[in-house]
Every structure is written in structure tokens, then in C-alpha cells.
């Protein structure tokens, strides 16, 4: 035995979970919806998923290499971003546009702000919003079974031209048009359950988000107040479930405080309701989340938990 032994500050044991295992769990949880996307849209979807992941991982590695930083693609966070970007574009999107979106998300939104943990917006959603603004038409034109078709959500939008309504069951299973990863409610819920069971995400944000949105729709949807079926279709259709479980819960861009998560969720529900009901497009989840991301520091400031045994509630520290 050596004369002097290793010393270190306590604790001397660590949990097995790492950033990598968490990101791996997110990838596993996204798999059912992604696989359904491939089943639903065919090789177009597969191609876009592969391109999304490869571009994001490569962009991060190359950027870090040339900036003389430690290459951290092994933590799988870039892979998660890539998969999410692919799941958030139509299967018909020009591949070049998708690559551009990936570069925007990884380089500008994530790396320029300091890399993992420092970005104030969800990189995948920032990429989606970038694409929505830059390439509005290709991002909002949907083909299904070879014919151009409106998304179920577009048909539901107040004031929309009447179209063929999609049944609730179809929405639940997911065999309809939309972006690659959002269509199947059941697959998304399976993935979400996995994340909840593995304690990767807490139910707070998705629950408050979906419930507050659903209640607002139920009571205040223009022309559809107190219409339960309409409410369920709004919840299952579009990107709400994908956004609520997989993107609003992004650690980096959601509040760290327990109370903050609830405030964040309710605010998301409110914004999504406004954007979907009164906005220019049928979809509103992406913008709602991106918008709320920017409010996270403010929300956190006012939701600092009361420390254990503290007798008086102090005013939130000004910082």
C-alpha cells in the first residue's frame, strides 16, 4: 500500500446517472413516436431523422474541435436535439433546409451561448421556429398518402375553411398528416411514461401545461366552448404532446424550482391557447415554449423554494 492515500471532499460515492444516461433515456422515449413517424411517412421520415441527428452531432463536434473546446458529443445532447428537429419538420421538407435548421440550433442557439446548460432557448425548437419563419410554405405544406392535405389542427382552427375532420381515434393513433414526430398521441404518451417512470422528467410541467390548455379550450374556444370532443382533438392533434413532454421539460430551458415549473406550465397553456385560437397559424406550441423559455430567469427569481425549517417567508432575493 502506498504511504499516502487519496483524499477528497465528501460524498465519496456518486449515483450512476450521468448526463449521458439521461439523454439516452430521452432518445429511448422518443423512439416510439419516431418509429411511428417512419411507419406513417415512410423512408422520407427515416432520411430526415438520420440527417437531423448526424448534422447536429457533427456540427457540435466540429465547432468544439475548431474552438479548441472539449468535444462533448458523447453526452448525446446533440443527438437529442437532432432527433427533435427531425421530428418537428414535415417529411417533405427540403433536406437542405433541415440541415440549415440543425446548424442554426446547434451553432447559434446552443454553442454560441456557451454550449450545453447555457442556451436560454431550446435549440430544437429554436431551429423549428427559424425554419417556420424562413421557409414558411415548405414547413406548413403537408402531404399525406401522396396528396396535399391540411393537418387535423388546421381544420380545427376557428375560422378555417371547412375540411374533412379527423376522428379522435385517428388522432390518437396518429395516421394522419403533420410533422414527423407529432402525429401519434399514443406513442408519445408511451415515451412520456418511460421518462416519468425513470424519473427523468417531473410531471409538473406537462401536467400543468396540458391541463391549463385543455381547460382554456373547453371554456373559451371560439365557437367550441364546452365541446369536450373538440378539446380532446386540440390536445391530441398538433405538437402539444410532443412539446409538453419532450420540449417544455428540457432541463436547460425550464425552471429549476418546483413552483416555477407549475407557473411555467400554466403560462405555456395560456400562450398556446392564444396562439392556436387567435394567431396566424394553426400551431402555437413551438412559439409558446420559445417565448416562455425567455421568461425562465424571471419565473425562477420569484419561485425560490422556502428552505426547510424557515419560519418567516422572506421576500425573494433581488438579484
Amino acid at each position: 500500500m502506498s504511504e499516502l492515500f487519496n483524499v477528497s471532499a465528501n460524498p465519496h460515492v456518486r449515483s450512476k446517472d450521468t448526463t449521458q444516461t439521461i439523454m439516452r433515456d430521452v432518445l429511448i422515449a422518443l423512439a416510439p413516436a419516431a418509429i411511428f413517424g417512419i411507419y406513417n411517412f415512410g423512408l422520407d421520415a427515416l432520411l430526415r431523422i438520420v440527417i437531423g441527428i448526424v448534422t447536429c452531432v457533427a456540427a457540435e463536434a466540429i465547432y468544439q474541435y475548431f474552438m479548441h473546446k472539449k468535444v462533448t458529443v458523447g453526452d448525446l445532447s446533440a443527438a437529442v436535439t437532432g432527433l427533435l428537429i427531425a421530428m418537428n419538420v414535415p417529411p417533405t421538407l427540403n433536406v437542405g433546409y433541415e440541415i440549415l435548421g440543425c446548424l442554426f440550433g446547434i451553432i447559434i442557439v446552443k454553442q454560441l451561448f456557451g454550449g450545453l446548460g447555457q442556451n436560454f432557448m431550446n435549440p430544437a425548437l429554436a431551429a423549428r421556429c427559424f425554419l417556420l419563419i424562413a421557409f414558411t410554405s415548405p414547413m406548413t405544406t403537408f402531404m399525406y398518402d401522396g396528396v396535399s392535405s391540411a393537418t387535423p389542427l388546421a381544420v380545427l382552427k376557428p375560422g378555417a375553411e371547412p375540411g374533412e375532420a379527423t376522428s379522435l381515434l385517428t388522432l390518437f393513433i396518429g395516421s394522419h398528416s403533420g410533422v414527423i414526430g407529432e402525429t401519434s398521441a399514443i406513442c408519445l404518451i408511451i415515451g412520456a411514461c418511460y421518462l416519468l417512470i425513470r424519473k427523468v422528467i417531473s410531471i409538473k410541467i406537462p401536467a400543468t401545461y396540458i391541463i391549463s390548455f385543455a381547460l382554456l379550450i373547453f371554456f373559451f374556444a371560439p365557437g367550441h366552448a364546452f365541446d369536450a370532443e373538440y378539446m380532446l382533438k386540440e390536445v391530441c392533434g398538433g405538437g402539444l404532446l410532443l412539446g409538453a413532454f419532450f420540449m417544455a421539460t428540457d432541463y436547460v430551458t425550464s425552471p429549476i424550482t418546483p413552483m416555477g415549473k407549475i407557473v411555467f406550465g400554466i403560462f405555456l397553456g395560456f400562450l398556446t391557447f392564444i396562439f392556436r385560437m387567435f394567431g396566424g397559424s394553426a400551431e402555437g406550441v413551438s412559439y409558446a415554449i420559445i417565448f416562455s423559455n425567455c421568461l425562465v430567469p424571471l419565473i425562477e427569481k420569484y419561485t425560490v423554494p422556502k428552505s426547510f425549517g424557515k419560519k418567516k417567508v422572506k421576500a425573494a432575493p433581488a438579484k
Binding site: 492515500f5 460524498p11 465519496h12 456518486r14 450545453l116 424550482t257 428552505s307
Partner: protein, 438 residues
């Protein structure tokens, strides 16, 4: 019955199976015995022997150096060889009395008394004389704890049998093998107060101890065995009081402010020894365990004994262990040398083949919030660590950094393996030092 618990906490690998079924083995010491003068919180004890003096086992060799301080007794008979600074398990040096063991174990005469014959003051005096301190590690003098400002307001005396630190089984063995005396110790402590109730708190991973103590306290009206959920740090004083009584205290309060007094199992046992048998605190149970020792076990050892002997008693090192820890893996101290004495607060020697921590690389915080969810003080460790790295004392205090109990849960759960506890602890030390200067 529902299990008591608190909000927060983590579930590290328990590791108790290595030593929980090993009966206590008494170890006879070899070589010089070392008695550091600070084995407790508060002023160091003052030596009452000089170099060359002959002492008996159980003889007072240093007396309390203040109100919050404790007596120290020789555990063997022999000659005082030196009074000099020696290294402690915590890494620092402390003035210590070194006694050359003559191997005869001649003891002073202990005055045994009957519980019924003792007045409250006599009980307190006997506890004080015996030099009993909190043996869970904090080392707070027991007689001071048992002499609160308002004795009428003490509602509960809680025996902390949680032993929530992984691996350690010394309290568990004490509960199993000396249950009668532990119950007696609690009865003695209860007798000091008019309407205090006794609670023996045991985590649910020790069903045998729960069953046994329930049997032993069946006919005791004012003693209850409460089952705690196995979770770290269930045995932390604040978490334990909350779980057992629903009362909460913060860093600026004493348990007595919530009407509670908390004692470790071995402390309660020592109260019995001191009050009934008249014996001072000269021995304790130490668990020697971990994957780096050949035969993990629980040992009844003489205070002042060398840690090397503990390692040998457990069959010696298995291979070339990389890490030696005094105490548990969550809050214990990593030792650079085994040439240190067993003191009143030494609960275990934990030996790891592999030093996992040294191989871990920390990465960027991903703001997952697990540190906050695991914090028993309901703080935001990631935020505090950030403030600590900026040396922002004001911000650190505003975010209640001084409420941290340094349990290590945040560092344990962090998926990015950030040294949160370390950063927060360092900042707390700085702030405490600055406060003392003022």
C-alpha cells in the same frame, strides 16, 4: 403503520449486507493509545496528567475545558508517554495524550448505582463525568443537550437508530445485541424531564431491530418505536425530528427549541453505562467494511486505538485499496493516513478498492434540478454552488446557503458530477470565518 419521512433525500447503495449480520467482536489494543483533546464540539479538554504519570483504565486524563466540552478518560492502564500534536482521522492535527499500554488493563473502581436511588442532578453529573458526547459524529456534549434552558418544554427524546449512512452497521448491532440497555438508557434520559416521550426511530431496512425494540418496549407507555423510510439523510437531526414529530427547525435553532432532544444509539447506551454502572466513555463500536477489506465486521474497540489495527481486525486490505474513509461514504472523511486514533465519534472505517470519485470528470450543469429535489434543506444547490464559485457571500446567504447541512446529497445525485457539496462547504467555511472575525 405509515412510515415517517421527510421531503428530499437520496437513495445511495446501502451496502449494509456486508456487515449487518456480523456480531460485535471485542478488540484488544496493541501499541500506544492516543487520546486527542478535541473529540467533541467546543473547547478542547485540559490534561490533568503529565508525562510519566501512571494511569488506570477509566481514569480521568483530561477534563472539560468549558461549558460545551467533555472529559476524556484513559481506556487502558499504562504510562503517559507524551502530550503532543497527533494526526486525526479528519486530517488535522490535535494535541493528544499518548499512553503506553502496559497490557494489564487495571481499572479504576467503578461505582455502580441503582436507577431508583439517583436524583436528576446526580444523573446529569454522572453523564457529565463520564465524558459522553454525541457519538454519531457531531460530538455535542450529552449533558449539555440534557440540560436545556426550559426542561418543561421538552416533549420528545428521540433515539436515532436510523443509521442512514450507507455501509455502517454499528448502531444496528448495538440495537440488536444490547436492546435492554438501550431502552434503559432512554428511560434514564426520559426521567430527567416531566413529560417527555421517548421515540426510537429505526429505518425500515432494519426489520429485525424494529421487531426486537417493539418487543422490549411493549410495556413502556411513554416509549414508541417509529419506523422511518430508508432514505439518506433520514438520520440527519433536522430530517429526523421532522419525520418523527412533524416539527421543523432551521440552522439557528436547537432541537430543544422544537421540544426535542436527539441521541445516537451508542450515546444512549453510554448513558446507561455511565449512570448505572458508573463507567466512563472509553469504548465504542466501529464498523470496518467496504469492498477493500477481507472480512467486514463490527468491533467493540478501546478509544485511542490505532485505525491500522481496525483494518487488521477485519482481515486486512483486500488487494490495494485506494480509499480509506472514517465514517460513512456520504459525510465521512477520506484519510491520507491510517495512523490515527479511534475517537468518540468514529463510527466506521470504510475501505474502497476503487476511488470512484477520483475518476469522475465533471461536466456542465444541465439544470436538471435533481440537486434541489434531493436537498433535505430544500435549497437550490446548483445556484448556491454558482454563487460560491463567484465568491458572492451576500447572494449565497440570501439563497439560504447557511441552512445547508452538508449531507452530500446534491453531489451524489448530480448527473454532471459537479462538486456541489464541496463548493458549498468551502463557501460556508469562508462565511463562518468572516462572521467570527467581526
Amino acid at each position: 403503520m405509515s412510515k415517517c419521512t421527510f421531503k428530499g433525500g437520496v437513495h445511495p447503495y446501502e451496502g449494509k449486507e456486508l456487515s449487518m449480520d456480523k456480531p460485535i467482536v471485542e478488540l484488544m489494543p496493541e501499541g500506544d493509545m492516543v487520546y486527542p483533546l478535541s473529540q467533541h464540539i467546543g473547547a478542547p479538554a485540559v490534561p490533568v496528567v503529565a508525562k510519566g504519570d501512571h494511569v488506570l483504565a477509566g481514569q480521568l486524563i483530561a477534563e472539560a475545558g468549558g461549558f460545551v466540552s467533555a472529559n476524556i478518560h484513559a481506556s487502558v492502564s499504562g504510562t503517559v508517554k507524551a502530550i503532543e500534536p497527533r494526526t486525526l482521522a479528519t486530517g488535522g492535527k490535535c494535541n493528544s495524550i499518548v499512553i503506553e499500554n502496559d497490557g494489564k488493563y487495571e481499572e479504576v473502581e467503578y461505582v455502580a448505582k441503582k436507577f431508583e436511588d439517583l436524583s436528576r442532578d446526580e444523573i446529569r453529573d454522572r453523564i457529565k463525568a463520564a465524558g459522553i458526547v454525541g457519538m454519531g459524529g457531531a460530538g455535542f456534549p450529552t449533558n449539555v443537550k440534557l440540560t436545556p434552558k426550559n426542561p418543561d418544554e421538552i416533549d420528545y427524546i428521540i433515539v436515532n437508530g436510523c443509521e442512514c449512512e450507507p455501509y455502517i452497521t454499528s448502531d444496528y448491532r448495538r440495537l440488536l445485541q444490547e436492546s435492554d440497555n438501550v431502552v434503559m438508557g432512554l428511560k434514564i434520559a426520559l426521567s430527567l424531564f416531566d413529560h417527555a416521550k421517548g421515540i426510537i426511530a429505526i429505518e425500515d431496512n432494519k426489520p429485525e431491530a424494529i421487531k426486537l425494540l417493539r418487543e422490549k418496549t411493549e410495556n413502556e407507555d411513554n416509549i414508541e418505536v417509529k419506523v422511518m423510510k430508508t432514505k439518506y439523510p433520514q438520520g440527519g437531526e433536522r430530517s429526523l425530528i421532522y419525520a418523527a414529530t412533524g416539527r421543523s427547525i432551521n440552522s439557528s435553532m436547537l432541537p430543544a427549541d422544537a421540544g426535542c432532544i436527539v441521541h445516537n444509539v451508542d450515546t444512549i447506551f453510554s448513558i446507561y453505562l455511565a449512570v448505572i454502572e458508573g463507567k466512563p466513555l472509553t469504548k465504542r463500536i466501529v464498523t470496518v467494511t467496504g469492498d477493500g477489506v477481507k472480512n467486514p465486521g463490527n468491533f467493540y474497540v478501546f478509544l485511542g486505538m490505532n485505525y491500522r489495527q481496525l483494518l487488521e481486525a477485519a482481515g486486512g486490505p483486500d488487494g490495494e485499496p485506494e480509499k480509506f474513509i472514517s465514517g460513512g461514504p456520504m459525510m465521512g472523511f477520506a484519510m491520507y493516513s491510517l495512523d490515527v486514533p479511534v475517537v468518540k465519534g468514529s463510527s466506521s472505517l470504510l475501505v474502497f478498492k476503487e476511488d470512484i470519485v477520483s475518476k469522475i470528470e465533471s461536466s456542465a450543469c444541465i439544470r436538471c434540478g435533481r440537486c434541489g429535489a434531493g436537498c433535505p434543506s430544500h435549497l437550490l444547490p446548483a445556484k448556491l454552488a454558482k454563487l460560491a464559485s463567484k465568491k458572492d457571500e451576500e447572494g449565497f446567504t440570501k439563497f439560504d446557503g447557511m441552512e445547508c447541512v452538508e449531507c452530500g446529497s446534491c453531489s451524489y445525485v448530480c448527473p454532471a458530477k459537479r462538486p456541489l457539496t464541496q463548493q458549498i462547504k468551502a463557501m460556508r467555511r469562508t462565511i463562518m470565518a468572516n462572521r467570527r472575525k467581526k
